[in-house]
């Protein structure tokens, strides 16, 4: 199963779990599964059209999935998927 690393600001939506193990073939499937298991994640990760929000970056290993095959980027047992939202400091 692929490992998904949840950033601290989003852990309140995953019962404070930092790492999720997800069985999936692509990054898109991973997002689908974790937003199904943790519905409150959805509005933070996906826009109303269902695309990954442009202020949330998803990396497979060391690389931005926008530079790979985007949501179709394949994942395997050893994949580590990191979700990194934009942060700006204390204030909005």
């Amino acid at each position: 199963m692929a490992t998904v690393i949840i950033p601290t600001p989003l852990r309140k939506f995953t019962n404070q779990t930092a790492r999720l193990q997800v069985e999936a073939g692509t990054v898109g499937e991973i997002i689908e599964k974790i937003t199904f298991d943790f519905p409150e994640l959805k509005k933070h990760l996906l826009d109303p059209q269902g695309s990954i929000r442009s202020f949330v970056n998803i990396f497979s290993g060391d690389d931005d999935i926008r530079d790979l095959q985007k949501e179709k980027t394949p994942v395997n047992e050893s994949s580590v998927i990191s979700i990194i939202p934009a942060i700006a400091g204390g204030k909005y």
């Binding site: 690393i5 950033p7 601290t8 600001p9 930092a18 509005k43 933070h44 929000r53 442009s54 202020f55 970056n57 990396f59 060391d62 690389d63 931005d64 926008r66 530079d67 990191s82 990194i84 939202p85 934009a86 942060i87 700006a88 400091g89 204390g90 204030k91 909005y92």
Partner: protein, 387 residues
């Protein structure tokens, strides 16, 4: 200034000896530091360590941009300041501390709010910018200004336990330009999806770490020693002690320096970040003085405090405590037949609470305390503790 025109006094050579004896660094890198002009935007959590280390390291000219004054609640992380400076402008407090640290550094103070009107003028005279600001509109403003002026931008950002660092718009030795903030994050989150300052919080040591990393990258960019963090994006999770460095690339659709740029000058960044839309939904407001009049004249109304219990312990003005996160579940306890005043620390969370109560539950009798409890303390009850 040409390097050949710069010389060190004996005292400077002695002071910078621990730099100069590093084989990869040497006197040449130290001379480059002295010749350099660095602008630090924000002298708070990130700016404090960055300014201390860059001043100590001997950067010749350092500009500091900050509009704020030192507050007691800053001292948990802003190690540049101490209790003697509370209430004084941060740039002046910073100058006193930094001049005492290194008299060979020329400090230039910009006691102003950086914005689309003044950013190019302020940044123009510097070689490198380090962005230590605390909000999205200023992040995009600094990014775009450094692109338009062709300056490298050493980025650091923090939130709660997470930190990020990168070097944007850096041109390497082969003349290849690296990515920038708009390549990494094309658009900011809408305000509703981001916790505000008082809800967010930050562990005080974290900006110390991230701001120090910014100082490190500034020194590398200036001296050419090592490989700056360009085209790479460093993240640090202090809670689990995990750091990762990702690869990032330029994007053809970057509106400032992509293939078909559409932004050729600075724009309205508050609008870009969706903040105007929030402001356009007006709610009824009451000033601290008017609230005090209501209290002393015995007018029938209810006061609700949407801050956190920890803040209530510091100072309170007689409101019923219902933290913002729980306001919806307590909506049925809020009267509809009398006026209701809602307050928080400075007015942002109470505004959110009113929007939520009006939109979801149809309330029409809610007033936002303008400026929050801070305004009340300033105007009505100065003996209460500010925080």
């Amino acid at each position: 200034m040409a390097l050949s025109n710069i010389q060190f006094s004996k005292a400077e050579l002695a002071r910078y000896n621990r730099h100069i004896i590093i084989p990869e660094f040497g006197e040449e890198a130290q001379l480059k530091l002295k010749a350099a002009r660095v602008l630090i935007i924000g002298s708070g959590g990130l700016g404090s360590p960055a300014l201390l280390y860059l001043t100590a390291a001997g950067v010749g000219t350092i500009g500091i941009v900050d509009f704020d004054v030192v507050d007691d609640s800053n001292l948990q992380r802003q190690v540049l300041f101490d209790i003697r400076e509370i209430g004084k402008p941060k740039v002046e407090a910073a100058k006193r501390r930094l001049e005492a640290l290194n008299p060979y550094v020329n400090l230039i103070l910009h006691n102003t709010h950086i914005n689309s009107e003044n950013a190019l003028e302020i940044i123009r005279d510097y070689d490198v910018v380090a962005d230590g600001t605390d909000n999205f509109p200023t992040r995009y403003l600094v990014n775009d200004a450094t692109l338009l002026l062709d300056k490298p931008n050493v980025y650091g950002s923090i939130f709660q336990f997470d930190g990020q660092v990168s070097v944007f718009n850096y041109v390497n030795k082969n003349g290849v330009r690296g990515p920038n903030y708009r390549d990494l994050y094309p658009t900011p989150p809408p305000p509703g999806l981001v916790p505000s300052c008082a809800e967010g919080g930050v562990l005080g040591v974290l900006p110390g770490i991230i701001g120090s990393l910014q100082a490190l990258e500034v020194i590398k960019v200036i001296t050419g020693v090592g490989e700056p963090l360009s085209g790479r994006f460093y993240t640090f999770d202090a809670l689990n002690f995990e750091s990762r460095t990702f690869n990032i690339k330029r994007r053809d659709d970057n509106p400032v320096n992509g293939k078909n740029p559409t932004i050729h000058k600075l724009i309205d960044y508050e609008q870009f970040c969706g903040m105007r839309a929030v402001e356009e939904k007006p709610v009824k407001e009451i000033t601290a003085r008017d609230l005090y009049n209501w209290q002393v004249t015995g007018k029938l109304f209810k006061l609700i405090d949407v801050r956190e219990p920890s803040e209530y312990q510091i100072a309170q003005i007689g409101g019923e405590l219902i933290p913002l996160a729980t306001i919806a579940e307590h909506a049925d306890q809020i009267p509809r037949d009398i006026d209701v005043v809602i307050h928080c620390k400075s007015g942002a969370r109470s505004l959110k609470a009113i929007h939520e109560l009006e939109e979801k539950f149809g309330f029409k009798n809610l007033y936002n305390l303008k400026g929050g409890i801070l305004a009340y303390i300033d105007q009505v009850q100065p003996e209460l503790t500010r925080y």
